[in-house]
Symmetry: C2
Subunit: 689 residues, 2 copies
């Protein structure tokens, strides 16, 4: 019996009853009669038999008694589920507990089948994903990506009516992909729309969703939250999202994103997501221009927060940062030191359940999402669902996400300004000198990155409830780049030793066209790669492929199981591998005439970097942004090193900052406005624009 596959089938077609066929091979779970909900008690058995007759395979299900779901059932199947809503979180944690408490995998399958038609499908998906990621018996079973189960959170809603037409009328072998226009949310009149290709990139949003799944901020099982340097990674992953977003903005003649820090002022940006929930047939409410956040009072969601209180919590966090210490629950103080301070602060600001004093410091980051997510209906007057800012699978699409996170990041940077600057000794690497770096792009010129549009096909049929079976493909357009290698020359005047290669990229000029001051420049560096290497005495030529990056996961993992609708294989295992910036966004877009950039490479002192642990069997593909499951973060330095801190006063520019083990090279990103088909596509319809 293929247990892994059976577990994955639990995610299939989220709102169809348990007795319908699952997966592409039309298998059915043979569920006991009492699993059927009241709706289907009278005639469900005959329906169940009908599906059973057409099934290619029957999966026996060990009967469990009715599960006491208690208040978990209070959230209607048709309501929006948001992990930012305290009540939803409590219900989800209770459901996670039920799944974690199952005695073995069979019991988990059986129990979750009993629950499936009784609880909110989005909450079910979340709780089952968390449980599978953290149960010893299922931790290596790939959790299906969210787009497979809930494509409606990622895809222009207009696709779904066309998909239904296709499914109903066209036999599977004749179906052709439904093309999603690249510009479906706004026109060029909207300046912010210039970077929509990046905000709305499916892989980018899946990364953000997956990160928050790997790093939940609350659980009844503390170990699920208390992962190594969790708070710091919250800071760093989001800092890098911002840096990458600003990189794209500069490439599109937009200034860096402005903080959202005046809550008494309207939000000038509007955003119309053009998404809808398939399950509830409801659109995600747009945010019109010039709306203002208001006091939240939604009793049914157990949300009550005034903007004034929110400002008080923020002021206290600044009090902590600028005084260098945090007040704990007992009135004692915790110093925000150089090493642990950022982690304490990350947990405090988000806030996760690890916050040292949530009563005093509140839940600032999460409530920012709620204030903005409910900006259109803060009191539930209009019975509206939250906007996309209230869901980690959708919030990245909205320009305000970045303005909010620019404000959150500012807090972290204020803290970073209070800790000691790196001395040259902490930057240098004895005996090591970087002499050159060259980027060799496949089919291109040296030191020129080459970007373009690619159209890829995805099969959404597992997320489309109540339609005929067979693959339903959509074709989406995303940025991509030609593969390349870094060719790094390092001179080692000492004995052989290990070194850590850190590769960053930044725009060369700011939005005024001027060279950077280092204190701002350091915030513009995006991590491209980080790896350990053996340095022999003398010259070392290091060749590193772009697809080995420590921040990305390959295309096929971002979209696993979605290309041909195939089921997961063992090669897809290890869930942390699902977390990671998508490979196709590794290189920012650049400009048609070639965007002037700086490639920064450093080989740092391994003795100060190394973390002693075995990584055997672990997936560390995107370790820089995602960490490694059940392991320590594999770099002892502060995340973002060497750019995470303010420079000493005598450092004005990057040049002033450099030590011999660093090199900065002028490179170019040339964007070519052409669209190529992804060679992995299984349908042969030509590209469309």
């Amino acid at each position: 019996m293929n247990t892994n596959r059976n577990l994955q089938l639990l995610f299939d077609r989220p709102s169809e009853p348990v007795f319908t066929t699952k997966g592409n091979e039309n298998v059915v779970f043979d569920v006991p009669a009492h699993y059927l909900t009241d709706r289907y008690q009278t005639f469900g058995q005959s329906l169940s038999n009908r599906y059973g007759e057409n099934a290619s395979e029957h999966i026996p299900v060990k009967s469990v008694q009715s599960v006491n779901l208690g208040e978990i059932e209070q959230l209607s199947r048709y309501d929006a589920f948001s992990i930012f809503v305290p009540k939803h979180r409590r219900l989800a944690c209770a459901l996670v507990d039920i799944f974690l408490g199952c005695t073995d995998t069979d019991n988990l399958i059986s129990t979750s089948l009993y629950c499936k038609d009784r609880v909110n499908p989005a909450m079910y998906n979340y709780a089952l994903s968390i449980a599978m990621l953290h149960r010893p018996d299922t931790r290596n079973v790939p959790v299906p990506t969210l787009i497979q189960t809930f494509p409606d959170r990622f895809i222009n809603s207009a696709v779904f009516s066309q998909a239904r037409e296709e499914a109903q009328l066209v036999s599977p072998e004749l179906r052709s992909p439904i093309v999603i226009p690249r510009d479906f949310t706004a026109s060029d009149l909207d300046e912010e729309h210039r970077v929509a290709y990046w905000r709305e990139d499916i892989g980018n949003n899946l990364h953000h969703w997956h990160w928050h799944l790997v790093y939940p901020f609350e659980s009844n099982t503390r170990a699920i939250v208390a992962k190594d340097r969790r708070g710091e990674l919250f800071y760093y992953m989001h800092e890098q999202i911002l840096a990458r977003y600003n990189f794209e903005r500069l490439a599109n003649q937009l200034a860096r994103v402005k903080q959202y820090n005046n809550f008494r002022e309207p939000v000038k940006e509007g955003y119309f997501p053009k998404l809808q929930t398939i399950l509830a047939s409801r659109g995600w409410t747009p945010r019109q221009e010039n709306m203002m956040i208001q006091d939240l009072d939604r009793p049914v969601d157990e949300i009550r927060m005034t903007v004034s209180d929110f400002e008080i919590y923020i002021r206290r966090i600044y009090d902590a940062i600028h005084s260098g210490m945090v007040m704990d629950r007992n009135g004692g103080t915790i110093v925000l030191d150089e090493i642990r301070g950022i982690d304490v602060l990350g947990d405090l600001i988000e806030a996760s359940m690890l916050s040292v004093n949530p009563d005093y410091y509140g839940n600032v980051h999460n409530f920012g999402h709620l204030f903005l997510g409910y900006i259109h209906d803060p009191e539930g007057k209009y019975l509206e669902r939250p906007g996309i800012m209230a869901d980690p699978a959708t919030d990245l699409r909205d320009p305000i996400f970045f303005r909010w996170h620019a404000f959150i990041d500012e807090m972290f940077q204020d803290y970073k300004a209070t800790i000691p600057r790196y001395t040259r000794g902490l930057l240098n690497n004895p005996d090591i000198r970087l002499t050159d770096v060259v980027v060799n792009t496949e089919g291109g010129s040296p030191n020129v990155f080459d970007t373009f549009w690619m159209q890829s096909d995805l099969d959404l049929s597992r997320g489309l409830d109540f339609v005929e079976r067979g693959g339903i493909f959509v074709r989406h357009t995303h940025l991509n780049h030609s593969p390349f290698t870094y060719n790094i020359t390092v001179n080692n005047t000492g004995p052989a030793k290990m070194g850590t290669v850190r590769i960053y990229l930044s725009p060369k000029f700011d939005e005024r066209g001027l060279p950077w001051q280092f204190r701002e420049h350091r915030l513009m560096f995006i991590e491209m790669d980080k790896f350990f290497t053996q340095l022999q005495p003398g010259n070392n030529n290091i060749v590193r492929r772009s697809d080995e990056s420590s921040v990305t996961i390959p295309y096929e993992r971002t979209f696993r199981n979605l290309e041909t609708g195939r089921d997961a294989t063992d090669a897809d295992s290890f869930n942390f591998c699902g977390c990671g910036h998508p490979q196709h966004l590794l290189v920012p877009r650049g400009t048609p005439s070639g965007m002037a950039c700086q490639l920064f490479v450093m080989v740092s002192n391994y003795e100060l970097d190394k973390v002693e642990q075995s990584l055997e069997g672990s997936c560390a593909d995107a370790a820089s942004y995602c960490g490694i499951k059940d392991k320590l973060y594999p770099d002892r330095r502060s995340m973002g090193y060497p750019f995470d801190r303010f420079p000493p006063d005598n450092v004005g520019t990057l040049e002033d900052f450099m030590t011999p083990n660093m090199i900065a090279k002028d490179v170019t990103i040339r964007f070519s406005d052409r669209t190529v088909l992804n060679p992995r596509n299984t349908t042969n319809v030509p590209p469309q624009t």
Copy 2:
């Protein structure tokens, strides 16, 4: 061959291709291969055969050559169609011309089948409806009500995902109605929501849609627009909608609606319709609170209008009203006289193509709808569809509709203030004295109207594309009242003669709880009935049933073909009969403790009322609000007589106004908050709240 039925099948499942089975009996049109669109050219024939094999009946279709649709195809099938958008109107008029130009009914069926999959389905529905209403060979074929084809304009979108589950899983005989909650658009926190049951009533919205279908404001065929007293009826029908709305407001402790007349001020009311288009899988954009109309510039829709210009047009209309004359196209003047003035003004303000000077007076009413309909995206920046204010099938749901029309009505009332007051001679009826009127309610007390909630089932399956066949029922809740009779006693001291009985109802007190001044009171009278009667010498006892009202159509006509999914019968004929206030809303809701009202009855002088014409074979069911097809409006008096004009200075109250041929009686509307099932429902699920 059942031509009527075949015509109606053209409306069935609006976005399914022509070759799928239509209607509940699974008939197919045998269309020639070249009717199929490019999408289905390669494999459509085999699909067509597949549907053909399962069909119970084949309708032969005379092949026509390809129709040259020209720019009609420019409006995408997935775009919103709005009759208020000038470009859409032009395309629709061109399509109407194609349908009007068909040589005979067979040719019309064949031509429209060719067009069906090539043009925007909402435009197709509109154009075919208009053409059928006005072609000699089809004028008596009932046009299906819009809810049958586009239920998504009337029904909470959440229903549709449940409907798909029902259709896919449950065999037709086991299906139960999906209950639409009465309060689905807002909570009690929203004061305006108190009257949502009336604004969102399906029959009320169907009436408004149907009225605008019978009275289009533009066509290439002038006769389609130039109906008797069209401009005046535009004024009167909307004035009555307002009076009825204000009646409901007073019953719900809300003040009368405030005009929307300051366009530089935010619209404080928000409205979240919770509707979505099935075809495009897109929600109708809500209007958040405190939005302000802005200059419109949407080149693709050929809309360009500044708020300043809009204000200039409005000022000119006021110039005309207060000076008593309109400037025509040649600079000449047309006096706004007592008889024709209101009609000239109605066409001018709306504006219909009959406007005497559209260049000078603009298109004020229609552009008000556009400004408000595009308030969220006036420049198309966000590629948003219009809001519900841009569609006559949906706009009545929105509180701003009434504020806008209160402003429009104010213009008409300003004109009415300029014309002579009614003399007693114009009000009185020689020899006639009304001595009593009693309302007898079935099972109730005398002079007490009895209102309550009713739940009725509707079959939406013909509007649900790409789902399994068979009825899909929804259960909606609407106001209703117990049947009653008016028992009127009239004393005639002269010879036998005809008289016109005019029955109105108004609240007895204003929102302050004070008795009315007549000049305001007159605007609060809702027409309940109007009929001619023979008056014998001496006492006459006139008994009139509530279901004979001249403003309503019966429940079964409002929802024709929707109860059991049956096809139309000859009894449903005459399309003007589809126009009319729904019978179930004849009586306002009233209050649980009994709302104090005044019933006003007048028997006016038939010699001054009568219009010489034969009404044989005409349907005059709701003639007061809808006129009679191809006939003169059946009342020579100004519409709204005797309340349409300002009173003489010596008339302070209704009592002062009365002549012997009038009577005013204190009556009560008692609302009972109970829900009963419509006895016409075919499913026997108990009522739900």
